[in-house]
Subunit: 180 residues, 2 copies
Amino acid sequence: MNFCSNCGNSKLEYIIPEGDQKQRFVCNECDTIHYQNPRVIAGCLPIYDGKILLGKRAIEPRYGYWNLPAGFLENGETPNDGALRELYEETHAKGEAKHLHTVFSLPNYNQVYLIYLVALSSDQFSKVTSESIDVELFEIKDIPWDAIAFESTTFAIKKYIENPTNKEANIGHLIKEQLH
Amino acid sequence: MNFCSNCGNSKLEYIIPEGDQKQRFVCNECDTIHYQNPRVIAGCLPIYDGKILLGKRAIEPRYGYWNLPAGFLENGETPNDGALRELYEETHAKGEAKHLHTVFSLPNYNQVYLIYLVALSSDQFSKVTSESIDVELFEIKDIPWDAIAFESTTFAIKKYIENPTNKEANIGHLIKEQLH
């Protein structure tokens, strides 16, 4: 953050505001405190007949790696709706969110994944979409473990395999050594 | 948003960027796309001996109303840690997060509550903290329903009373008619 988004000047200080415990960007001109917070990634664990639907990413990061359908939650939407929107955008599949399956947080990246177990309405989906270069319904034995895009996906699929009927949300996180 | 936080000029347009489906603030000078996303509120449903710990808010909004300990998740922390931090800040109580109890979203306010069921370590807490003008451990029959601060708290407590041992996350949302 280089400039104040409220008044446009560059007199930003990175300080702990009065009554706070954490450093924030504060504008010395108009006194606006610019809070920065983690973002939610809404995602699906889409199941059909015991198989799991994965998409091969058409964008960086991790282009060409397999992933559960997921993306940033938008203002104005519920996580449940966001998850089903991402499912459709990435695979053109539809389904119903049954319960929250996984909360996976990446504090170093300021991200929180909320992944719903989704019962697919059918085995209909598109092999290619604008967000996926390939889409496939995998038998558990065929999951491409070495080509999964993100830890959140590996975590959620492993938890599903361990206990497919569990309805308690699985809680996980990945803390990497801070670069600075 | 009035000015670009990257380059400081005021040539912001609220448009749908190429390849996107949603309006964003885009800087005409440096091409930065300013994404805006919902924030996570990490909270606790703190239980001791069947009783629920609530704090009476010392700040607006809803000053003087009772609430579950909760607050904005910070960059660099997991929701679980954020929930226990808020518990301590608001009540000086400590405990252990057992499972995710509630996901409650407010799409019109761009907020997602993640509320953990927390087993308090003891019945020790402070009656007054910098964030609460009163703290109390309520028997279920004494919950002050008419003086609860937010719908998320009412929802979580009602779900707990309906089924205290349920471990599946309760999913709720409140959609108010948009003002504009």
